[in-house]
């Protein structure tokens, strides 16, 4: 027998009843093609973005992580969308104050003397006298700027409330509404 004939015989015999199992995806794909109108049969199958052969726990994990992430993004978005920036400069006479600390207090009552002033944020005053409080929600605030401790400025000027007051009861309110707020503080000279 010629070698080519032996090859033919061998392959013919070997593959006469040859069987193999394909992956389960073939039936799933076929079913979708045959019945495109059919709806998924259980809630898991409604998560169409996950291949159906993925284990349930894996799908649960992915779904939970996606939900948490979506909630987190929602909080970030809706939590900051209505917030604004309170910024300004501190002045010592005609010049800007170099360094210091700015404090923002939340005002919760309308009665004088105020007894519900809660410290809300602090910010450093830069070398140009500037300070900035980002992400401030709507409401009423009091702003206080103090000169740098132990400095020559501190010996001449005292901590002052917006706009040029030494007491929170007489200080002007910083009202944060639908826009950013610019609030400058004129430092009061020591007596």
């Amino acid at each position: 027998m010629e070698e080519e004939d032996k090859i033919e015989k061998r392959f013919s015999e070997a593959f006469r009843d040859f069987k193999r199992e394909p992956s389960g995806l073939v039936w799933e794909g076929l079913k979708r093609e045959l019945h495109p109108e059919s709806k998924p049969q259980n809630p898991w199958d409604r998560l169409w973005m996950f291949p159906r052969h993925f284990p349930g726990r894996f799908r649960l994990g992915i779904a939970a992580a996606a939900a948490v992430f979506a909630i987190f993004l929602g909080i970030i978005y809706f939590g900051t969308a209505s917030h604004h920036v309170v910024s300004g400069h501190a002045y010592t006479g005609e010049t800007r104050m170099c360094r210091g600390t700015a404090f923002l207090f939340k005002v919760d009552d309308k009665v004088m003397p105020r007894d519900s002033i809660v410290h809300y944020r602090s910010a450093m005053v830069d070398e140009n006298g500037g300070y900035r409080f980002p992400g401030i929600g709507p409401g009423e605030y009091l702003l206080r700027v103090s000169p740098p401790d132990g400095s020559e400025i501190a010996s001449k000027f005292q901590a002052s409330w917006y706009d040029q007051h030494v007491s929170p009861d007489s200080a002007h309110l910083v009202i944060v509404g639908p826009e950013d707020v610019q609030a400058d503080v004129q430092m009061r000279k020591r007596n």
Binding site: E3, E4, K6, I7, E8, R10, F11, S12, A14, F15, R16, D17, F18, K19, R20, E21, P22, S23, L25, V26, W27, G29, L30, K31, E33, L34, H35, S38
Partner: protein
């Protein structure tokens, strides 16, 4: 036979359960066919899906004058041929140079080939050789039938079969002479 008739009727009513039953009945054998006619397992799964879609869409033409298995087999062969025809133009035919007519291979290198090794050899054949080799050597079609199915002459079918066997022989000779036992696995 009555069961078969009932199954076909239910499939024609588009009952998913019946379709799955028919699929399960022939899936293993038909996938074996798809593996032989395709270039790899992924292509085989594509072909498998295409073949069953064809089976279900043509099922109303089945007249129960032969076995359902034979009919499904026939549909699959035609699907495989269509699939091959579509892909034929994209795959280059590689010519064998310096063919040694006097060299021989060791009997064992043929008899000890596993199914996977044989499949790899078949997959490595150019699509034209592979289709004719499958149709003639394994599925038992004649060159005249093959010519009609593939739209080629009987002589072309013969030469494709000859080239396919020559290619396989060369692989076996390489395995014998150089001990390249992994050639089909690579």
């Amino acid at each position: 036979m009555d069961d078969e008739r009932d199954l076909v009727k239910r499939c024609l009513k588009r009952e998913v359960k019946a379709e799955k039953q028919l699929y399960d009945l022939y899936v293993h054998k038909m996938f074996g066919i798809c593996l032989r006619y395709s270039g790899n397992a992924m292509e085989a799964e594509d072909l498998m899906q295409e073949g069953f879609l064809r089976v279900f869409s043509l099922l109303h033409t089945f007249r129960f004058d032969g076995s359902l298995e034979g009919w499904v087999f026939h549909v699959f062969i035609h699907s495989a041929i269509n699939y091959t025809k579509r892909h034929l133009r994209f795959k280059a035919e590689v010519r064998l140079e310096n063919y040694d007519h006097h060299a021989t291979f060791h009997e064992e290198s043929l008899s000890k080939l596993s199914h996977d090794e044989m499949l790899k050899i078949i997959h490595d054949l150019p699509p034209g050789y592979r289709t004719v080799f499958n149709l003639y050597a394994i599925d038992g079609y004649h060159h005249k039938e093959i010519g009609k199915m593939l739209g080629i002459s009987e002589e072309t079918s013969k030469s494709q079969l000859y080239m396919a066997k020559r290619r396989i022989r060369e692989i076996l000779i390489a395995r014998t002479n150089f001990g390249l036992h992994n050639i089909a696995k690579s």
